[in-house]
C-alpha cells in the first residue's frame, strides 16, 4: 500500500474514532498522563496495522488496539512493584472526594487493563460505554447470553484481581 493511501485511511479513521478514543481511553485511565500515553500507543497501533483497518472490521480492531494501548500505558506507569504511586492519581480533580474512593476507582481501572481481551471489551462496552447487551453481542459477534457471560466473568475476574491488589 502506498504511503499516501496509508495516510488517507489513517486520517479518515482518526476523525471517525476521535470521540470514541477520547471517551474510552479517558474512562479507562482517568489520569491525564496515562491518557496521553494510551492515546499515543493507540494511534501508533492504528498506524502499524493500517492495512487491516481498511474494512468492515476496523471498529473491532481499533477497540482491541485501544485496550492493548491502555494495558501498556498502565503497565508502564504503575511501577514495577505493582504499587500505585499516589501522585499518578488525579486526586486534585476531586478535592471533596475521599482518597480511598479515588484509589479504589484507580484500582478498578488498573484491574480492567489486565483483563483478557474479550472480557475487557465486554466490560468497557457494558459499563464505560453503557451499551445494552444486544449491542454488545453484535460488536463481539456472539449471542446475548454469551455477552452476559463475558460481562459476568469479567466482574468476577475484577473482584479477584482487586482482592490481590489489596
Amino acid at each position: 500500500m502506498k504511503q499516501s493511501e496509508r495516510l488517507e485511511i489513517f486520517e479518515k479513521l482518526r476523525a471517525e474514532y476521535s470521540v470514541f478514543l477520547l471517551s474510552v481511553l479517558w474512562r479507562l485511565t482517568g489520569d491525564r498522563e496515562l491518557f496521553t500515553e494510551a492515546m499515543q500507543y493507540t494511534l501508533m497501533g492504528m498506524w502499524e496495522h493500517i492495512e487491516k483497518l481498511n474494512g468492515r472490521k476496523a471498529g473491532a480492531y481499533i477497540y482491541r488496539i485501544a485496550l492493548t494501548a491502555n494495558s501498556r500505558a498502565w503497565r508502564n506507569r504503575i511501577g514495577r512493584n505493582g504499587k500505585f504511586a499516589r501522585s499518578q492519581i488525579d486526586i486534585d480533580q476531586d478535592p471533596g472526594e475521599k482518597l480511598d474512593r479515588v484509589e479504589l476507582t484507580a484500582k478498578v481501572r488498573k484491574a480492567i487493563s489486565r483483563l483478557p481481551d474479550k472480557q475487557g471489551r465486554a466490560i468497557v462496552m457494558r459499563y464505560l460505554e453503557q451499551h445494552d447487551y444486544e449491542t454488545i453481542s453484535e460488536k463481539l459477534c456472539c449471542t446475548k447470553t454469551s455477552a452476559r457471560s463475558h460481562v459476568s466473568k469479567a466482574l468476577a475476574a475484577l473482584k479477584d484481581k482487586l482482592a490481590t491488589f489489596a
Binding site: Q3, E11, S23, F35, E37, M44, L104, V108, L128
Partner: protein
C-alpha cells in the same frame, strides 16, 4: 469488595463527565501524531517517530524516581533505519563502554541451580548468577558465567561447561559469550548488547523500544525498554520455560552522565502480572579480576560429554520411534545395564550420581510423544518410581540431530 460495589464504581466511571482540558489533550496528541506522520519525506523508510511529551502533572515526585520530563517515546514503525536521538543516546552509551577492559556482574534469575543457563520458571525461586569478563594486557579475552550448579568458563584457549559435581562439556576453542544457552552471559558484551538491541528492534516485528529519562537520587538515568512478543503459542510446552520463549520486557538503565549500563530487569508478561524473572543486582567496570576466576579446578572423576557415535548395530537404534527410545532408556536404567544406557546418553561413561538416581527404577507409564515448535526433538511423558521410593512424573526430551542419527536423551530427567 463485592461485584455490586465494582458495578457501582464502573457505572460511576461510565457516567463521568470528561474534563474540558482532556478534550484538548486528546486533540493535541492526535494532531501531533498526524503531523509527525506527514512530515516524513521518506515514505516507506522512516521510521522511528519521536514524541516529546511534556508532563502535565506536577506531582510526580512521590517516589525516589522522578520522571523529570517524559522525554522520548520511540517506536519502530517499519524495518528501516531509525533516526535522531534514539541512535544518539545508544551510540553515546556504546562509546562510553568502548574502552572497557573488565566487567563483573552479579544478577539473580528465576531458574534451577543446575539446569540450562536459559531455563526459567515463573514460580522458581531466584538463583544467584555471577559473571566476569576481562581482557589482559596481551589482549587475551576471558570470561566466566556461574550459577550454583553450573559453571561456564572460556579461558582464552578453550571453553568448558562444568555441571557440578563432575559432568563436563569441553570445546578446545574459545566460544563466544552466549554459547551453551548462557543467555545472561551475553550481558557481559555491554558494547555489543546495545547495538544488538537496536538492530533487533529495527529488524524484528513485534519488538518495540522506548527511551526515557528518570531522576534517581539526584542522578539522571536513561532507561531503554525493549518489549518483545514471542511467536511461541500459548499452549506450547516450552512457552515461558526460556526467556526467549515468553512475552517479556527488558528494562535497561544507564547512568546519563557516564552513559554506562547500570542495570537490567527482565519481566515476563503473564495474564495476571508481569513477573520479574531476571535482574542485574550489581555491575563493576574496569576492576582487577583475580586470575583464579578464569581457571577451573576440575574433580578427578570427571565424566565428559560425548556426541553419539555410529554403533555396530546403529540401525537398530536409528529406527526406534520416540516412545520406544523412552521405554528402552528407562528399561536400561531399571536393569542397571549402563552399557545400554550409554547408547541413549551423551557421555563418556555413566556418572555415579546418575546411577544412584536412576538405577533400579520402576517404569510406571510411558505416554504419547509430543512436539514443541521450539525444539527439533520430541518430548515423551513418563512416570517412574525411583529406588528411593519417590515417584517422578515429567517429560523426557530426546533428539537425533547428531552424526549417528539416533535419539539421545537431551533433558527432562
Amino acid at each position: 469488595m463485592g461485584k455490586e460495589n465494582i458495578e457501582e464504581i464502573l457505572k460511576n466511571i461510565g457516567s463521568e463527565e470528561i474534563p474540558a482540558d482532556v478534550h484538548k489533550i486528546a486533540q493535541e496528541t492526535s494532531n501531533n501524531f498526524s503531523s509527525s506522520l506527514k512530515q516524513t519525506r521518506q515514505p516507506k523508510r522512516l521510521i522511528v517517530w519521536e514524541y516529546i511529551m511534556k508532563s502535565r502533572i506536577t506531582k510526580l515526585a512521590a517516589a525516589a524516581v522522578i520522571i523529570i520530563a517524559v522525554l522520548i517515546s520511540m517506536n519502530i514503525l517499519d524495518k528501516t533505519i531509525p533516526t535522531a536521538s534514539a541512535t544518539v543516546v545508544l551510540q553515546n552509551a556504546v562509546n562510553a563502554v568502548s574502552d572497557l577492559w573488565s566487567v563483573h556482574m552479579k544478577a539473580r534469575m528465576r531458574t534451577l541451580p543446575s539446569d540450562n543457563f536459559s531455563n526459567i520458571g515463573l514460580n522458581y525461586d531466584f538463583v544467584d548468577i555471577e559473571m566476569w569478563k576481562g581482557t589482559n594486557e596481551n589482549g587475551l579475552v576471558q570470561w566466566r558465567v556461574e550459577k550454583p550448579g553450573r559453571v561456564l568458563l572460556m579461558d582464552g584457549q578453550s571453553t568448558i561447561m562444568l555441571i557440578r559435581p563432575n559432568y563436563g562439556v569441553l570445546e578446545e576453542r574459545p566460544l563466544p559469550l552466549g554459547c551453551f544457552d548462557s543467555w545472561s552471559g551475553r550481558l557481559l558484551n555491554v558494547q555489543g548488547l546495545l547495538d544488538d538491541e537496536l538492530q533487533k528492534a529495527k529488524n524484528i516485528p513485534d519488538r518495540a523500544i522506548s527511551l526515557w529519562r528518570e531522576k534517581v537520587e539526584e542522578r539522571d538515568k536513561i532507561v531503554l525498554e525493549v518489549d518483545i512478543t514471542t511467536d511461541v503459542p500459548e499452549d506450547d510446552y516450552l512457552r515461558n520455560k526460556f526467556i526467549q520463549d515468553s512475552d517479556h520486557v527488558k528494562v535497561y538503565r544507564f547512568d546519563a552522565q557516564t552513559e554506562l549500563l547500570e542495570g537490567l530487569q527482565v519481566y515476563v508478561h503473564t495474564a495476571g502480572e508481569d513477573v520479574l524473572i531476571f535482574e542485574v543486582t550489581d555491575i563493576e567496570y574496569n576492576i582487577e579480576i583475580d586470575d583464579g576466576v578464569f581457571a577451573l579446578e576440575l574433580p578427578e572423576n570427571m565424566v565428559w560429554h560425548k556426541e553419539p557415535e555410529i554403533l555396530p548395530d546403529n540401525e537398530k537404534y536409528g529406527q526406534m520411534e520416540p516412545k520406544e527410545v523412552a521405554q528402552a532408556f528407562f528399561q536400561a536404567c531399571a536393569d542397571e545395564d549402563w552399557d545400554e544406557f550409554l547408547k541413549f546418553w551423551m557421555a563418556s561413561e555413566a556418572e555415579q550420581r546418575i546411577k544412584d538416581y536412576l538405577g533400579g527404577l520402576e517404569i510406571i507409564s510411558i505416554g504419547e510423544p509430543f512436539k514443541s515448535s521450539q525444539y527439533s526433538g520430541w518430548f515423551i511423558p513418563y512416570e517412574i518410581k525411583l529406588r528411593s521410593g519417590d515417584i517422578k512424573k515429567y517429560n523426557l526430551a530426546i533428539r537425533n540431530d547428531n552424526p549417528a542419527h539416533r535419539y539421545n536423551v537431551d533433558g527432562g530427567i
